[in-house]
């Protein structure tokens, strides 16, 4: 139990943000008179926020390395979109091949920036500020300042399409896309099975396990939520292709950060670089890879975003970096590095996304929206800072001496 309490305390901010997100959704659901969670709007929300989530995951890794951010991602998104447009629309190349080349361009950009940041030790802020200008400029050069449109369907299918329905005649529970509903149920079942298997496995090997009730509550909350989300999607046109891309990114990076040695090293690097180095962590290489990865994900986001616009525009991706950074901090990442999770980042990105979408539906002007978003970011981070100082959560309750020790350490 003690262990659970500590885990809870360590992740307090994330839980608070999750509660805040649910409250926000309910509030907008009421304020927009039910429009927010209409199937079409949920689909919209996914399209609108897919690229933010992808960018935020990459940004999280950079922030984890020590509070470093990447200011260039908006420009990289634009440059990759411009390249895709030039290859496919102007030169008529094969869309699939072009996408691969675009991802390669992303990697090259990452190598360029990562080299300066990790090996020449120029602050990331400066290198990526330079990148922001350079890549925006290159975008304008590539496009000669013009917008290219439209993309062929083969390209658009990757991100703006929907997963086709295998059983169009079925219309189970009156939904339009039965396959999507079945996929949702399947995911929920897989989730429950892995949870139970993991629980039993640990119990058999004699490791510590959470209480059986915690497990049941976890399954009872998450599985219906998943099925419900897919039910809504199925009621419209089905699962958006881009949701699959986002899902893969989230799963892969969530696994990477929490279950791999390299992911762990990332947290160590951000928590204390010197200590990490003296524990055998290859700090430079890790920092380098974080930026290569960031640019790669920015390229993915660029491809997705160009497809959504159905054009390659020189103005694409303006201020995307700020959305991504905001999502990370909202989701509980530390501005000093070493703290933050993929799950938290997703919550942060969704929070911003729902806020945007809800206010737009309500017809609030975009000027006011910016003010609200800025204040929300500040309040969320401030609430965390204040709660850390005031809440009794920080004081352990296990005997007088240790608690007093803690005080002396903190003060």
């Amino acid at each position: 139990m003690n262990s659970m309490r500590t885990t809870f305390r360590n992740n307090l901010k994330q839980y608070m943000m999750l509660v805040a997100l649910v409250a926000l959704v309910i509030a907008f659901q009421v304020l927009t008179k039910g429009v927010l969670l209409k199937p079409m709007n949920v689909s919209n929300l996914i399209f609108q926020n897919a690229y933010v989530v992808i960018l935020a995951v990459g940004m999280l890794l950079c922030i984890l390395t020590g509070g470093n951010i990447d200011l260039s991602v908006g420009s990289v998104v634009a440059l990759v979109g411009a390249c895709a447009g030039t290859f496919i629309i102007t030169w008529g190349w094969n869309p699939h091949l072009s996408i691969l080349i675009c991802l390669g361009i992303g990697l090259l950009i990452g190598v360029w920036q990562g080299f300066w940041i990790a090996y020449v030790r120029i602050p990331a802020f400066i290198v990526t500020l330079s990148g922001m200008l350079v890549f925006r400029g290159l975008t304008l050069i590539v496009l000669s300042g013009l917008t290219l449109a439209p993309f062929p369907p083969a390209y658009l299918a990757y991100s703006t399409g929907y997963v086709p329905d295998l059983f169009p005649a079925l219309q189970l529970f009156g939904v339009r896309n039965t396959t999507s509903l079945l996929v949702g149920v399947l995911i929920a079942i897989i989730f429950c099975v892995t949870q139970v298997m993991g629980y039993l496995g640990r119990k058999n090997k004699g490791y510590a396990v959470e209480s059986i009730w915690a497990l049941i509550v976890k399954m009872a909350v998450i599985s219906p939520a998943v099925v419900w989300l897919f039910y809504i999607l199925a009621s419209y046109r089905g699962i958006p292709m881009v949701l699959i891309i986002v899902g893969i990114v989230l799963l892969a990076y969530s696994y990477f950060t929490s279950h791999t040695v390299m992911g762990r090293h990332l947290y160590a690097l951000g928590g204390n670089e010197k200590a990490a180095r003296l524990s055998g962590v290859k700090t430079k290489r890790l920092l380098f890879l974080a930026y290569v990865n960031m640019a790669f994900l920015a390229a993915v986001a660029g491809i997705v975003f160009a497809a959504r616009l159905n054009s390659a525009s020189p103005q694409a991706g303006q201020s995307f970096e700020l959305d991504a950074i905001g999502a990370c901090f909202l989701g509980g990442a530390s501005a000093y590095g070493g703290v933050g999770t993929v799950g938290g980042t997703l919550i942060g990105a969704l929070f911003m996304g729902v806020l945007n979408n809800g206010m737009s539906i309500m017809g609030i002007s975009s000027n006011v929206q910016q003010v609200v978003k800025g204040l929300v970011l500040l309040v969320a981070v401030a609430a965390d800072a204040i709660s850390k100082n005031k809440l009794p959560f920080n004081i352990p309750r296990f005997g007088k001496r240790d608690a007093a020790e803690q005080q002396s350490v903190e003060l």
Partner: protein, 516 residues
């Protein structure tokens, strides 16, 4: 009967869920040096925070009388106005400002908002003279030694017309001669200027040396106040008060298990400084350690001990010009820290917060960090195995925490040090380079750490023990190397070394340096 300058009456301070101070009474007379001792967590820092107003009036119960007046401090400013100045363990100087600027930081010599630099530097020199420091007040603080910085802190307090000077662990990062310098200064200020001071320290010999009276705290309560003036109190007596039982021995005994095989040998090591690449920090050092042996390296701060250890540990410091490391008789190529870890060498840093622990991570994550491959398969961490491993070290090292998921930043100093030791024991080393393994931990935890070291060498491992505390070196080591100015200048067996012999060795060497 001397006049009471400070009286704290039945102070009780509670934090949510815990009583940090429980009815503490303490009286400090004008013109005395009053020492407060106690283990980590006994409540010393909290008590000083009450006194200086960090915990404002009303958040604690009990009364503080200064100079006969009841104090109702709302913040540090209020206590400073009365002349109560606290110097914290971590020095609060700004490295990139000059000595003069630092000395009058928050107390600027100005006329209507415009700083009078002439006056600032002139006064800075005056105060530096009082503390016996000859430096240009324009020198940046980062360019002077830690010992001198400590003196600047005291001068800064004097500039605020201090009446009660509180020093929290003033010598924890100083070597012995600098420490003595600071203590002598306190004695001199007492005699010449009548300045009262409170000193908090773990170093009992220093307290016996300078304190008039000693108050002992344990578990948030005052145990007793001892008079050190008329007759010097034996250290064992103080320790007994602190831990609540007799500590018959400071160092646990171990069965002598030194084997003939050499575990690690270093030949002709020369290392140049990290930044000043023409400065030799380690100069042609050769040494060896046998299996089952604890070898001490003693030297003043700046002698190159940590630099030597770090460069053995995969050239983690500076640039190596020459030298070879032999382990079990075979020469090794150690070009990086991972190389050294793979070769089963461990380096336990002297600075556990700065370069040791990942404070924002849990105990589990900290322990397994250097050898993740022990708890992972093909890059995937087996989290259950990892937890079980951490639990093992929690039990065997007696790390006091409710759970191994606790963040390390929430642990006390002694427990943090045990986590750090646990990490490097986990890495399965044959040779441990222990750099000041007991720095900043209390007497009880020190003893436990000595025991851990003994268990390790009894299991056939070899340890190189670096310390600035000579008593500790003499008490723990089988053989002692003395280092000065980057060179090994002496080697003694445990039986033949005494404090005098070792110090003499250094003095002789330094003299030769000046003569040459």
């Amino acid at each position: 009967m001397a006049k009471k300058l400070l009286e704290m009456r039945s102070i009780t301070k509670e934090f949510p869920g815990v009583k940090a101070l429980d009815n503490v009474n303490i009286t400090v007379n004008e013109g005395e040096i009053h020492a407060i001792v106690g283990e980590n967590g006994a409540g010393k820092t909290t008590l000083m925070n009450v006194l200086s107003g960090v915990h404002p009036y009303g958040t604690y119960s009990g009364d503080v009388f200064f100079d006969g007046q009841l104090c109702r401090h709302q913040g540090i400013k209020d206590s400073e106005r009365l002349g109560i100045v606290i110097i914290h363990q971590e020095l609060a100087l700004v490295p990139y400002l000059s000595i003069g600027e630092n000395m009058f930081l928050g107390n600027e010599q100005h006329r209507r908002g415009r700083i009078d630099w002439h006056k600032t530097h002139q006064k800075a020199e005056e105060y530096m003279q009082i503390v016996g420091l000859k430096e240009d007040p324009h020198t940046l603080v980062k360019d002077i030694s830690v010992g001198k910085q400590q003196l600047i802190e005291i001068a800064k307090a004097l500039a605020k017309s201090v009446r009660l000077l509180i020093l929290d662990e003033p010598t924890s990062s100083l070597n012995e001669s600098d420490s003595k310098n600071v203590l002598d200064l306190l004695l001199r200020l007492k005699k010449e200027q009548g300045i009262t001071s409170i000193i908090i320290s773990h170093k009992l010999n220093e307290i016996s040396y300078c304190a008039d009276r000693i108050t002992i705290l344990r578990d948030g309560a005052t145990v007793e106040t001892l008079d050190n003036q008329s007759a010097e109190i034996p250290e064992a007596r103080i320790v007994k008060g602190m831990v609540g039982r007799e500590m018959t021995e400071r160092f646990p005994s171990r069965s002598r298990v030194i084997k003939d095989e050499i575990a690690l040998e270093v030949r002709n090591f020369t290392v140049y400084h990290e930044l000043f690449t023409d400065r030799k920090v380690v100069d042609n050092v050769s040494l060896k350690v046998h299996k089952g042996e604890v070898v001490g390296i003693y030297g003043l701060i700046g002698a190159g001990r940590s630099e030597l250890a770090l460069s053995i540990f995969g050239q983690a410091y500076g640039t190596k010009a020459s030298g070879t490391v032999y382990k079990d008789g075979k020469p090794l190529e150690l070009n990086s820290v991972p190389d050294a870890i793979k070769a089963n060498i461990a380096y336990v840093t002297e600075d556990r917060k700065g370069s040791g622990l990942i404070l924002s991570n849990s105990i589990v994550h900290n322990i397994t960090l250097p050898r993740m491959d022990f708890v992972a398969r093909r890059g995937r961490i087996d989290k259950d195995l990892e937890r079980k491993t951490a639990e093992h070290y929690r039990e065997s090292l007696d790390i006091k925490t409710p759970t191994v998921d606790q963040l390390v930043e929430n642990l006390s100093g002694g427990n943090q040090q045990k986590v750090l030791l646990g990490r490097w024991i986990f890495s399965q080393p044959d040779v441990l380079l222990l750099d000041e393994p007991t720095r900043g931990v209390d007497v009880g935890a020190k003893y436990e750490i000595y025991q851990i070291i003994n268990e390790l060498v009894e299991a056939g491992k070899a340890a190189i023990f670096i310390s600035s505390e000579l008593t500790e070196i003499l008490g723990m080591c089988d053989r002692i190397y003395v280092m000065n100015q980057g060179r090994i200048i002496g080697e003694f067996l445990a039986g033949e070394a005494t404090q005098e012999i070792v110090m003499n060795c250094i003095m002789q060497d330094s003299k030769g340096e000046i003569g040459a």
